[in-house]
């Protein structure tokens, strides 16, 4: 593989890593729907499974995030341990992340442990998320822990 392509791969990994951290920072700054949906392609899917539902398209993703602060008044999204695989020729990539998230949900301290399976696409030079699959391992009241209450009701 030539040097140009090897550098391009490292640049793409760094750009995608930054995209995910930017998403985390906007989430932690009050989940602004306009700002967060701008990280997604027009046809993106945010798939939160049974707990958070499947949201298709940038408008639906904006609406989802605009509604979140009603319940989640504080969060720190610690995005950790990424594996990012890039297909430069196709202008697409996949990624896996861990998330550790202390949150305040309905005024109660809550701990969330999540992994993501993501897909990304390069749109005119900018990497965007085309799919986020959110795998919830636990969302537990701080006082309970994940054995007693692995998943917050509601």
């Amino acid at each position: 593989m030539d040097l140009e392509e090897r550098v391009q791969r490292l640049e793409a990994i760094e750009a995608i890593r930054r995209l995910k951290i930017a998403y985390a920072r906007v989430a932690d700054d009050g989940y602004d729907g306009d700002r967060i949906s701008a990280f997604f392609t027009e046809d993106a899917v945010w798939d939160g499974g049974e707990s958070f539902g499947v949201h298709r398209g940038r408008a639906a993703i904006k609406a989802l995030f605009d509604g979140i602060p009603e319940q989640i008044s504080f969060a720190l999204h610690y995005m950790v341990g990424q594996t990012i695989d890039v297909d430069l020729a196709a202008g697409s990539a996949t990624g896996h992340w861990y998330l550790w998230a202390p949150m305040t949900i309905n005024n109660a301290a809550t701990l969330g442990a999540i992994t993501y399976d993501d897909e990304y696409r390069n749109v005119e030079g900018t990497w965007l998320a085309s799919r986020m699959r959110v795998n919830i391992h636990f969302i537990t009241p701080y006082e309970d822990g994940w054995v007693k209450t692995p998943m917050l009701p509601g």
Binding site: L76, W100, P102
Partner: protein, 155 residues
């Protein structure tokens, strides 16, 4: 697009700065080694922790670490989620980080949740901190959590 040499320089600068921050974490977790930590800062650097105080220059910064090494008998600084911006000629940069920190403070288990806004400067071949702003989101006794006690007193 910038030439290949410059593009590699950018990636190297980001990695060099990332390692500086992890070195800082390692020294904090080695009982806040005051001379070791102070050496990571430029002579005129500022460490600003808001309610934790503002320390300017090597003497004040070393004094802060000496105090921390007495109050914090254990800590693990998980430095996470960096956004590092550098521009040619790659002798300075800025960064944003998250930190998750379980610690023992004056004999109590605590969790600290914070973010950093940093300014970096290259001194010779080495990256150094010119400014560290620590933004505390919570500093809570393990038994309480951040809703009941978001900010515990330091003494």
């Amino acid at each position: 697009m910038a030439d290949l040499e410059e593009r590699v320089q950018r990636l190297e600068a980001i990695e060099g700065i990332r390692r500086l921050k992890i070195r800082y974490a390692q020294l904090c977790d080695a009982n806040y080694d005051p001379p070791g930590l102070t050496a990571l800062f430029t002579e005129d650097a500022v460490w600003d922790g808001g309610d934790l105080g503002r320390y300017e220059g090597h003497d004040q910064i070393r004094g802060f670490w000496e105090g921390a090494s007495k109050a914090f008998t254990f800590a693990l600084h998980y430095m996470i989620g960096h956004t590092i911006d550098v521009d040619p000629p790659f002798t300075s940069g800025t960064g944003h980080w998250y930190i998750w920190e379980p610690a023992t403070v004056n004999g109590r288990a605590v969790f600290l949740g914070a973010t950093y806004d940093d300014v970096y400067q290259k001194v010779g071949d080495n990256w150094r901190f010119k400014q560290v702003n620590a933004n505390l989101h919570f500093f809570t006794p393990y038994e309480d959590g951040w809703v009941k006690t978001p900010m515990m007193p330091m003494d």
